[in-house]
Symmetry: C4
Subunit: 230 residues, 4 copies
């Protein structure tokens, strides 16, 4: 997530499997993805995904890059990912598909160079999720809670869309429904109801990172946040 | 569920993720979905689904609105959901598909206004489950136990039907089999065998709501209950 | 399972969800499915499945009736279930599909009458598994361990076959391979290796029935057992 | 795995379900798959898979034979398994499909004779994974960590490819991407990040074999290892 008081920095774990991340693993980075304090710890190669988007989008305060199994089939086949149920409306009206081949030819498929992060951020544009061909997805949010909500429900939307294709014609939300349902579900009520649940799930799993998880939800934010959370 | 002694009221949790609901979270509502005692707690926006059905159907004593992953592909594709195995006969002979667009045009897809709840209840009609286009399902029962049984096994029926479509022709139960198998499986024997199992599962999960779960099963009920539970 | 010392009787739980069954729940039945001691406990309606097969097949010492999710799509679509990997060879060379409609017309789909159990046993014939249209499967074995092995791996075979159909042509084992691989995998070595694992899984789950599970595996049995377990 | 100090021997458990294997179960074998110390313990029939590959491939220090559910549909249908996301690049450029019928006609499908192990090793050739028709897969690695990484992510690649086929055209990595992404992901950083996670998962599961799991990762190895792990 973007640093809560310094918008020119962001927070990201050292390179570690997400389930194992502890509070001490969280490091501070400049927007060009350099660690603020020099460190010998191994860093994620793909942190430029985060830096590139925070640079390009001042309204974005949290970013998630993932390879959820339900999302990948869209990245492999090129099938359009569409909002197919109300919670999937958090996809937004358009889901771009970025292909590293277009700008960079044959690569490792890893987004590790500043220009690769910038290219991906351009593909994201004003949208909230970008699919990455043969790789995964990157999701943005105005807050950590919104990001989590969008990441989880867009992955579920993808799983439902795959199953619906197996039954025949897929009839997605139209543009107006997508906008209306997206705004409705991203209000504090639905988001914090889910947030309480996910916290409870993490507590049951006795996983790490409890201090991070239990921080108070953000009550205020950018102009956009205030506007949306009516 | 409908209030056990006052049929003009119903019980529903405050707005909270179902897994977290505790006995104190259960509130009492009038059939027009107003809380009996004024409260500052956040309430579910979709409680009119419940109120609308209790108003329209005096034989219904329990309602469940859900978004089970196996049901949604039918709500997205419009494919008919059919009873394909004996326990799926609890679907009943007809499963209507309600589309908010028909009566209300572009919406949030959330059933939050009294007229939306009434429209959905009309679509349900005399049936026991109604699919909601691009949203989920709403299920009704004459008791909480019957409702739980129907909700779980109709979701499984849906999952089986999807897989069967992948193999080719789907051969569902006919009308007579649906009626006979539905009546057989909704007798107290099969329902309470499953009820004991679900209670044990919840106990193992150490989830909340134990007091609610452990209440004695209803031994008597509406005329319909007595008639059916032969 | 058939009674270990009296082949004219069989053992079956009172009507209870399998996960909850305790040693005291196991009752003794005659082969015409009457309890040996009169009881007020609720009994499974479908125990005639067991009695019917023990009557018809003296080589069968254990029977399992189930509704595994991977098996049902074959019962719904009528697609042939075939051995598609070595462990699936325990299906045997032929898997009949029984349809209650053929002998009994419109029913509850429940096999509850002696003549229904007998009809199903005839459909099973000399095979080891019979699919039941729109209902489930019934599996037979010469011992409880073989039955468990066959039930689990034939359900997995079904899941694999469904996925293989999604990729295109399904190329099953031929008859000779089915016979050879079936015999190989039903020897004591492979069966008891899996049996030890399943016991460990049950112990971890802290489920009931520990005494039953921990009984020593049968070292001897019918002539068929001795012949096969070379 | 190959013996860490004697390349003419390998280590393999006695015949036991993998989840239950304890350190004392690990036995030492010669490359022709005979136990170094005579033993009464039951041994895996298929150990010639391991011996055959260690004999044929001096660069291979770890072998895994498995029947993962996502891999089998490719073994049944004959559909080509392709790298479809960056982590799937660990498949390598070619995935041969070996069919026991070609060399041996009708068999048990079990690879139990030295000549069967040798035939499979020839089919593997210079590649890193070989599919076995109607049976499973065998995977090779230059270290236990690389093997684990490849085995897990190739199984996930298979699951994703199946889902992608359901959406339409599958667009895999090209040869250059496969080589580049494979090399990138098999460096110590990505592999040991996953290795730490899998160890944590096993610790949570309180499974056996802790001593084996916690050994220090290999810091050096064959020339190939040194070259690759730059």
């Amino acid at each position: 997530m973007r640093h809560p008081t310094d918008p020119g920095r962001y927070l990201l774990s050292r390179s570690r499997a997400p389930e194992l991340v502890q509070p001490d693993d969280i490091l501070e980075f400049t927007l060009d993805s350099q660690p603020v304090k020099s460190t010998d710890l191994r860093l994620y190669g793909e942190r430029v995904i985060h830096g590139g988007i925070y640079q390009a989008r001042s309204d974005v305060n949290a970013v998630c890059h993932h390879h959820a199994p339900s999302i990948l089939p869209f990245c492999i086949s090129g099938m359009d990912l569409k909002p197919v149920y109300h919670l999937g409306a958090t996809l937004g009206e358009k889901v771009p598909l970025w292909d590293a081949r277009d700008d960079f030819g044959d690569t490792t498929l890893i987004v590790a160079k500043p220009e690769e992060g910038a290219s991906l951020a351009r593909a994201l544009g004003e949208n909230w999720i970008v699919l990455m061909r043969r790789h995964g997805a990157t999701v943005a949010g105005i807050s950590l809670e919104e990001l989590t909500f969008r990441t989880i429900y867009t992955a579920r939307n993808a799983a439902l869309q795959i199953q619906a294709h197996m039954l025949g014609l897929v009839s997605p939300l139209n543009r107006a429904e997508t906008r209306l349902a997206g705004e409705y579900n991203l209000r504090p009520g639905p988001v914090m109801r889910a947030w309480e649940y996910w916290n409870a799930r993490l507590d049951k799993a006795e996983g790490g990172g409890a201090q991070v998880r239990k921080r108070a939800p953000r009550k205020s934010g950018s102009r956009r946040t205030k506007k949306r959370r009516r």
